[in-house]
Symmetry: none
């Protein structure tokens, strides 16, 4: 779409495994149309460094490990996409985990590669994703096909996909449901036997966790992601 032949693509690597991260960084340095602008070993460090990054050095493509200590790569991807939807994210994993593929797609990752993908393919994927593509390892593609066949799709059954995103507390989850029902804080307070102030506090915390700032947005997100 927007890639000139010799444009330099700014790449970022988020990976906790020291050796893997170093080797990958070194390898990418051999490709002169790529520039590794930011390397982090955790989501926290990534965001911390990102905050100190100048606009013209902002990463365009991020290779994100799906298994990160602390905030997972999926959570990090979600947060990043909220703020910077224009950034392309490729998830990296050693696993062919069903759930995580869909989760990654849902939070906005466009690509999904196994860690043993040959470096040339990784580099091609970076280019491809910049052009609007969705690079994906063949092994994962097959998995995906199987999932689609069995109807195990993300928008579908709530029953089969049970986990709770945004790690909302039980109380928060409960209150969120009331919000979805269109109730006011006062009404909710009466229902759950809490002070309206407390309900309000909970809702503020829910907003923070979900990265929204209104009831409508919270309802939409909650329903879209089936957390009710």
């Amino acid at each position: 779409m927007n890639t000139e032949e010799n444009e330099i693509i700014r790449v970022s690597i988020v990976e906790d495994h020291d050796i893997f991260r170093k080797r990958l960084t070194e390898l990418l340095h051999f490709y002169k149309h790529l520039k590794v602008v930011l390397v982090a070993n955790s989501a926290e460090q990534f965001f911390e460094k990102l905050g100190r990054t100048a606009e013209d050095n902002f990463p365009q493509v991020i290779l994100m490990d799906i298994e990160l200590p602390g905030a997972s790569g999926i959570e990090a991807t979600f947060q990043l996409k909220e703020k910077h939807p224009e950034v392309d994210i490729i998830m990296f994993t050693v696993f062919e985990d069903d759930e995580r593929i869909f989760e990654s797609i849902q939070v906005g990752a466009a690509g999904y590669l196994l860690k043993d993908t040959p470096i040339d393919d990784v580099v091609n994927s970076i280019k491809e994703i910049r052009e609007g593509g969705s690079p994906i390892s063949p092994a994962i593609a097959r998995k995906l096909l199987t999932m689609v066949k069995s109807g195990n799709t993300p928008d579908k059954p709530a029953a089969e996909r049970k986990e709770v995103p945004f790690d909302l507390s039980p109380a928060e989850l409960n209150i969120l449901e009331h919000v979805i029902d269109g109730k006011s804080n006062k009404e909710i307070a009466e229902d759950v036997f809490l002070s309206p102030w407390t309900v309000k506090t909970h809702i503020k915390n829910i907003y923070k966790k979900m990265h929204v700032n209104s009831r409508a947005a919270a309802v939409r997100l909650a329903l879209k992601r089936n957390i009710v």
Copy 2:
């Protein structure tokens, strides 16, 4: 699963394009672990020949052209799977057609390959499908990924995705979408080039039609009923 190293796999080809069919047949003959037991140029001929096939010569894997004259390859796959669910079917196509991918999967095809797939990959796919895999061309895998991302899944039939309850006017529908996006009246007004007062009036009318009295409730109803 059930493949011994030197088992001979019986393969069938259903393809109306004469030259392509012949070339493919010839190519497969070079692989001694494959045996082309049945070649047809249409679904009708295929079933006709199949009826006269002895049990011990029954095809185990079928390479089926998706674009057949008369009954399509999808229709043929459906019928064949009814009678012989144990047969593995790989759909062959020159197109990367969205609908057909899902249709093929739905009727029971396990693999989906582009016709320009290198012969070696075709042969590998035949082996793979016998082992319970789902061979798929990378280009198609990407398409599939995009489809899953956009939620354009076959399980949500196109029909029920479209209906518009509450007979909201186009303007109201438009504004409702903005509400679902969590926007304020003022923001919506700017987006749709209307006065905030007008937006408010519209929203009040939307509430009346939907029998709700808050944004959150409207969002929930709209999403539950797929108005958007």
